[in-house]
């Protein structure tokens, strides 16, 4: 049955499902990165989410929602290293911080999480929309969620996930401004950013959990 709001334990369950989705998507994420970078994005995300799962499973029942998100972020950050560890770790840490004190996760929480998450990443890495990074999926998802706070959570989550996919599609037409892909110039046209693809997997798994 679709869930209109989540308890902290359900948030944990949702993030465990997100971790499984990323781990399963490893070949697709690595393939996307081979076209642009050094082909190890999927492996890094898999390593981060495997560590994240272990961390989430250790959390006591009733751990506050913000701590559930930031635990995943910390685990990713310390297990991955590199730029991706810092970016995705910051996403969950900064996004989680915005939910301090909240006892349920609803459409407004989703919007708060996505906004603080992308702002944290932008502040950390300096990327903006159009630079062909994960921000190109994060930002439209956050904007869509902000417009959807009056909708039931399952619909808001679906709208955000769709916006992330549209953002990833748009990244195909962008020239990279960050990382190793930057040195390719126009050679990176036609390929989506692998980090943006990871965001679509994360938000897709959140939607699937909320709607199931």
């Amino acid at each position: 049955m679709p869930k209109s709001s989540l308890s902290s334990d359900q948030v944990k369950e949702m993030l465990l499902q997100v971790a499984d989705a990323i781990i399963a998507a490893e070949p697709r994420l690595s393939e996307a990165d081979r076209n642009l970078g050094d082909g190890d994005h999927g492996l890094g995300m898999q390593r981060g989410m495997t560590a994240g799962k272990e961390k989430l499973q250790e959390l006591e029942a009733g751990t506050p929602i913000d701590k559930v998100f930031s635990s995943l972020g910390m685990a990713m950050m310390s297990s991955m290293g590199g730029a991706s560890g810092a970016i995705f770790g910051s996403y969950f840490r900064a996004g989680g911080k915005a939910l301090a004190g909240q006892e349920v996760f609803d459409s407004a929480s989703l919007a708060g999480f996505l906004r603080a998450g992308v702002d944290g990443v932008k502040q950390r890495g300096g990327a903006k929309v159009g630079d062909k990074t994960a921000v190109d999926s994060m930002e439209p998802a956050a904007e869509k969620a902000a417009e959807s706070t009056a909708l039931p959570l399952p619909e808001a989550a679906a709208a955000a996930a769709d916006a992330a996919i549209a953002g990833m599609e748009a990244s195909k037409d962008m020239i990279a401004q960050f990382g190793r892909a930057k040195t390719l110039g126009e050679g990176c046209l036609g390929h989506p950013d692998a980090g943006a693809m990871s965001i679509t997997v994360i938000l897709g798994a959140m939607r699937d959990y909320i709607q199931a």
């Binding site: 310390s78 991955m80 290293g81 590199g82 560890g85 810092a86 770790g89």
Partner: protein
């Protein structure tokens, strides 16, 4: 399983970073120790002094972690192969080198390193440790002088870490250490050329593609695009091309200036070639009136079995010269 096209003598390709780290600690013969997950720190540190911490991804040995030693860095935070160290490793190294006077982070300008060292600095500040950062960006060909913040850090890191290491032995404040390290960066420029890629230990795949009959002029140590490809040529033809790029940059080099001149192999280029290049380069430096205070010839900043060389010039003023002349010792660079 990997194709291991480079015929690497390793064990599990995914454990290279951890195993090279264990070997590195052993290479210090008890003078340095393992800290936390993957940091190396000298056992004897000058009391009440600001600390110098370096670090970066593994796979470029002996940098950065092989530059730990007396008169060099106090410690290093080590990442996985070609990946920056995560913030908790930066933090564990920071805590171990700090002697109450704060810690200077000194590392190359790559997105992953900047992100993770900044995060490590925030964690350290939360614990009351003062951190300052100086970023090494000596690669002339990675961006124009007007966009220095986009320049990568390459072989010039060796003279920069040496000078900062000497400063860490003599100054009493973190501010002073950071000032001198920044000055060393500002006085250092490098240009690299590549003739063959290295390989990724985990996969055996080359780190980039380069045709057999060309040289990548200005290429970065991971194969980042340089200023262009030129036909394969002789040492006598190549040396002036590299020096012209160095001279055209914004570091003012006038007759009478004293410099450190560093000819670095990117991995597999042989000492024979470095010597032949030095023979070609020295008369050009002298014709410009530059006085070489010290020559360094070695493979210190590498990318596996990548072939190619870089030239680095560090201009010495009185202060830097005094620091340069202090002895230092490390796995990667020793000066008597």
């Amino acid at each position: 399983m990997s194709k291991n096209s480079a015929k690497k003598i390793i064990n599990d390709p995914l454990k290279c970073a951890d195993e090279l780290f264990e070997g590195l600690v052993l290479a210090y013969d008890g003078k340095a120790r393992k800290v936390g997950r993957r940091s190396i720190v000298m056992n004897e540190l000058r009391p009440d002094a600001p600390a110098l911490l370096v670090g970066g991804g593994a796979g470029h040995e002996p940098i950065y972690h092989g530059l730990v030693g007396p008169g060099m860095a106090d410690g290093a935070a080590i990442g996985d192969i070609f990946a920056a160290p995560p913030p908790d490793i930066v933090l564990e190294a920071t805590e171990a080198v700090n002697r109450g006077k704060g810690v200077l982070y000194l590392y190359g300008n790559y997105a992953g390193d900047v992100l993770n060292f900044d995060l490590g600095a925030e964690l350290a500040e939360e614990e009351g440790i003062t951190v300052k950062t100086v970023i090494i960006n000596d690669d002339v060909c990675s961006a124009p002088p007007s966009e220095k913040s986009k320049r990568r850090g390459v072989a010039g890191l060796v003279p920069v870490v040496k000078l900062a290491g000497a400063a860490a032995q003599t100054v009493d404040t973190l501010e002073e250490l950071a000032r001198i390290a920044q000055k060393a960066v500002d006085h250092t420029r490098s240009v690299g050329v590549s003739t063959k890629p290295g390989s990724i230990p985990a996969t055996g795949e080359p780190t980039f593609e380069l045709a057999d009959d060309v040289i990548g002029l200005g290429m970065g140590i991971h194969g980042e695009k340089g200023v262009g490809l030129i036909p394969m040529c002789t040492a006598d033809e190549l040396a002036p091309k590299i020096l012209d790029l160095l001279f055209a940059d914004d570091l003012e080099l006038n007759a009478g200036d004293e410099i450190v001149f560093f000819v670095n192999s990117l991995g597999s280029t042989h000492m024979m070639e470095l010597l032949i290049l030095l023979r070609a380069a020295r008369p050009i430096l002298e014709a410009k009136g530059l006085k070489v205070h010290q020559t360094i010839l070695d493979n210190i900043v590498t990318c596996q079995e990548m072939a190619g060389v870089s030239f680095s010039i560090t201009k010495l003023d009185d202060e830097l010269k005094r620091l340069w002349d202090l002895p230092c010792e490390s796995v990667g660079y020793t000066k008597l």
